[in-house]
């Protein structure tokens, strides 16, 4: 409230949002005249994982969010034993510190051929190299320098037939599982995720048989893939955020007790 030229003034301030921005509006009324001021600020990406309490606590830490589709993620060690996160995209690799909003460098693969609409990718560290495979093309990258060593394309046409495979007996708990080592007196636990519908948001939970042994982590979209490094202390989840279309990487870890 204020007063100018003898007329009391009134301001109504509202914080709203649209698709891409927070929208701040101020309606300023002074006598018979009014003015509207509008200011916008870009909305940050979502970064919240809900947790409940159970026997084992499952933690999720978001390490990456971006527009490019992530096909796989792995964690590698440089020569100086520093750890790096490696993301496999359709057209290259991103190497970055495993921290949110860390600087990164991208190694592009030469003239990528047309990918499948739902390409498969796989990453692993072999010595001081990162070996990647995307839809039958293999590329090696030096982990220290990020330099591309070379690429190789598997010959022959791509067979598009779908191979149905036997999964764990967890039909009611989704269809993606990974062995998960737990040091909390719980053995043979696995992670279960998903509704099997990529239009729906997923949850992740540690399961022993059909019994949940952890809290539930809820994600803002479907879990597209679990990735597990050489050790089984943590698992990475690649998630497509249904709200903004971003691809996100979460590192999942467990701790004992609620």
């Amino acid at each position: 409230m204020g007063e100018a030229d003898g007329e009391p003034s009134k301001a109504l301030i509202t914080l709203s949002e649209n698709l891409g921005n927070y929208v701040w509006t101020a309606e300023i009324q002074q006598g018979d005249t009014s003015q509207v001021v509008i200011t916008t600020a870009p909305r940050p990406s979502q970064n919240r994982v809900a947790t409940d309490e159970m026997l084992v606590t499952l933690n999720g830490l978001k390490l990456w969010a971006g527009h490019d589709r992530i096909l796989d993620v792995t964690f590698v060690f440089l020569s100086n034993f520093e750890q790096r996160m490696v993301l496999l995209l359709g057209d290259g690799l991103i190497i970055t510190k495993p921290e949110k909003d860390a600087a990164f460098r991208k190694t592009e693969f030469p003239s990528p051929r047309a990918l499948q609409r739902d390409p498969i990718g796989d990453l692993r560290q072999v010595g001081h190299q990162v070996n990647s495979i995307v839809d039958g093309r293999e590329c090696d990258v030096d982990v220290d320098s990020g330099a591309l060593i070379g690429c190789f394309v598997w010959p022959g046409p791509v067979d598009r037939s779908t191979v149905e495979v036997a999964g764990a007996d967890l039909p009611s708990y989704g269809d993606q599982v990974r062995n998960l080592l737990l040091n909390c007196g719980v053995r043979d636990a696995v992670l279960g995720a998903g509704t099997g519908d990529d239009t729906q948001s997923d949850w992740v939970q540690a399961l022993k048989g059909k019994v949940a042994v952890s809290n539930t982590l809820n994600f803002p979209g479907p879990v597209l893939k679990f990735s597990q490094g050489p050790d089984t202390q943590f698992v990475s989840a690649i998630v497509r955020n249904l709200k903004d279309g971003n691809y996100e990487v979460y590192r999942l870890s467990t701790s004992c007790g609620p």
């Binding site: 509006t25 200011t39 499948q116 598009r160 239009t199």
Partner: protein, 490 residues
Amino acid sequence: MKCIVCRLPAGRKATRAFVLALVAGALTTAASMEASRRPQIGGVLRVQMNERIAAFDPRQWPTEPTKAAAAERVDSLVFDRLVRLDEGGTFQPALAISWQHDAQSKRWQFRLRDGVKFTDGSPMTPPVVAMALQQLLGVAYDVSASSDSVVIMAEHPVPELLAELATGRYFVFHVAEDNSLTGTGPFRVAEWPASGSGNAIFVANESCWAGRPFVDKIDLTMGVDFQQQANAISFGQADVVELPASQVRRAAQRGVRTASSNPVELFAVVVDASKPAVQDARIRQSISLAIDRASIADVILQKQGISAGGLLPNWISGYAHLFPATSDLPRAKQLLTVSGRELSHPIPLVLFYDSSDAEARAIADRVAVNLREIGIMVQVSGQTMDGKAKPPAADLRLVRSRMSTPDPAAALSELLNSLGEAAAEMETPEQIYAAERAPIEAFRVIPLVHVTESYGLSPQVRDWMPPRWGGWDLADVWLGPPSGAGGNSP
């Protein structure tokens, strides 16, 4: 030949199996246990739509919003644009992999993606792209080609050029030797009905730069009325049908899977202020205050609509609360009295609506009932509004407009254009707000409701994830086994 399998660590059978699966070309990995959710390749997607599209040709673009929206859906099967909008409304590369503009936004340069081919096998080159866009953008722009780019020049600043190129008819096409049009999109046209009615057949583009679509074929039936579409989805004769807002709830009750966009259409009453009966702004304001928008949204549109006080829905503007949408009958009557009108001498008005639109008819009737309560007698009259003929002269005209983009300035320009209002320069949020406010404040345009775009889906349809501003993305849809129970998705 290099052998990746040879140097895999011993004991990593699962990984070996994955690599072997890749070598064999299988889409899924035996170890990852992800097969049950991986998309399946193949099948025919049966789609029905109400509109008839005369040709899949961006150069022959309909002016009527509903037809233009239908043409955009069909053309997106065959053609791509330079840029696209992601789910957050941010511009992303499509056929252009990068772009830049000068300080005044008059000169735009788009670097093209390498290695893209049209479905007739010819390469997508800068001259071909420049020629296509020049025909679509018109003489107000000069489109030229360089070694790996196209340059678009305008006499005036065009900061909204990206928003323009990401929607509407701005598809890249190539005229083949037989004068047919080809695109770079996920499908190619195999059959096109000569008369505009009947079925169009699209087959998968195996070498699509963005990846082959999952379904082998799309069988598109045009010119199917909404009741026939509702029957088709109920009896398993179609996989994707359009659902009018007023039928979504009923379809869901019958077990049909339904999917709706954000509100992307606007019903509004356009007032011809030059007509003697509505020249007085107080009468126009009383009309706005008398209309019960909530009952239109909740009853006629079965909660698939939202009362609208402004032109843009809040998910696009973020400031819709600045335009109240509540009715106030006492105030409406008071304004009529002040304007010198007596309730004992009703004002006769004519309200036109599109006779082919059942929802428009129901809304027009409701508006007439509301206005009768304040002493305004409305004669409701259905007219053909196909976009070719000049809109009929009437005191009031019920208009259905559509937004094809989440960009506030571009969406508002679309609306103002279809409502017969001039669009001013809009760069800042305040300028957009001012441009939206002008026709509403003058009561030349009375917004009523924002409406969603809805579809009915068969149980086989998977990964239905269209843009939230409507349309479809059939390249990413795949067909699975029937999922049994209905349920709504997404």
